[in-house]
Symmetry: C2
Subunit: 263 residues, 2 copies
């Protein structure tokens, strides 16, 4: 059987590397990136240039759109070019080429102000677990509260995906990704324990998105490991794409001075 042709934007990034290492035998990967990569078919191009990227989509079955300015501190100018214009161009090039499915890397930052401002989420992120009432009402696809221009651009990519699905029939799965980190160890902060998506679960998550049946037309799903401190819904995600994360970050952490801030 011929392997499915998967085009990954931002192939040189952390998640691109995990996909190549874990799923490189199963799928026929190619990429678009700002820079070339040894041993991988990568077209060097700027996603903000529609004409430059359109030919790369020919013959592709599924697009995994990871390419973006990944910083929640990114300026408006960078987000506009690298996340907003780029994402529209990826959808448009996929439409022109007749791609079946786009998997869009959305982010927890699309709802990032909930855990920064509202209880019980804030107590989870701050590690005040004795103040957390159980069960935590999970954040769902209907929630939207971006914490940055970056988060706004991820909400934009979701609603653009909804439009492209309804208007053109292309399947779009948006994944609100937690936090993929290297080294693959979230024990340095309670928020990281909540957000963690392990490398193993990252590979499984994208495989599930690629393999989900064509009946999955448009969906917003969550990409976090099975963490005990998780604050996002997981049941709907499991129903829609069959993603069942294996890893659990637990609840024990070590505060490090000058640790991460989340926006």
């Amino acid at each position: 059987m011929e392997r499915r042709k998967i085009l990954v934007t931002g192939m040189s990034g952390q998640i691109g590397g995990i996909l190549r290492r874990s799923l490189g035998e199963r799928y026929d990967f190619s990429g678009i990136d700002r820079r070339g990569l040894d041993g991988v078919d990568v077209r060097v191009a700027d996603l903000a240039d529609l004409d430059a990227i359109t030919p790369v989509f020919e013959g592709i079955d599924t697009v995994v759109h990871l390419g973006a300015d990944p910083s929640p501190r990114a300026s408006w100018e960078s987000v506009l070019d690298n996340n907003i214009v780029a994402t529209r161009n990826v959808y448009e090039a996929a439409r022109i080429a007749g791609v079946e499915r786009i998997i869009f890397a959305s982010s927890n930052h699309a709802v990032g102000y909930y855990p920064m401002k509202d209880e019980p989420y804030k107590s989870v992120y701050d590690g005040r677990l004795n103040e957390v009432r159980q069960p935590i009402p999970p954040l769902t696809a209907d929630h939207l509260r971006p914490d940055s221009y970056y988060g706004v651009s991820k909400a934009f990519g979701e609603s653009l995906g909804s439009y492209y699905h309804d208007a053109f029939g292309i399947s779009v799965i948006c994944v609100r990704i937690g936090w993929v980190m290297t080294p693959d160890d979230p024990s340095f902060h309670p928020a990281a324990l909540s957000l963690w998506l392990s490398h193993r679960d990252t590979a499984s998550l994208f495989e599930r998105c690629i393999e989900a049946p064509p009946s999955v037309g448009f969906a917003i799903v969550h990409g976090m490991s099975n963490n005990r401190l998780r604050i996002w819904e997981s049941e709907t995600t499991a129903q829609i794409i069959g993603f069942e994360p294996e890893d659990d970050s637990g609840v024990d952490w070590t505060e490090r001075p000058g640790g991460p801030s989340f926006i």
Copy 2:
């Protein structure tokens, strides 16, 4: 008492005219527009040019952001400049100037695919009222299903408003406006009967948004008259801003050949 200073973007448009005629004595209106207007303090500028518009926001209490490419058929290029970049610039200029509140003209097109694709909304738009089950589950602020680049840009303006409120404390009220039309008569099509926002209700709606107390930090509300064929929620809107529309378009219409299409 000094009149509140209201800056209206897109002042030369239909809604700008209604606001000036109905509320011109109550408020001190100024505007930004692509073209000048007799008898009104209008700065001619392109909203896509942040430096050009920033000085106009000095001393303003409330911004009513109507300026946009208003066509659901607008190209991506036009939407990008006139709706996305322009809206970010309006929020940013308002933030710099310390404006208290932005009223953002969102649109029913942010959820426009529901009545084009899903029952019972579709039957309402198509005028097959015998197929409509009662009561109609109303579309709410949590629904999102844009029908065009234009609709995506309105969803963008809403999520950007949520971010600006959380990050900078500015009050943002997003109004999903139905259909303000001239002449002020929706009897030509069932969808128009559903979407109608009469001129009188338009003035009352924006007055309510301007007068809503500072405790209204961020909200998405609906701007339709009290139409019997209405498919959007109204109770939450009434609770948040006190908008109680007076007009009702009823259910009787005359089909006209080549009537409107909604995207």
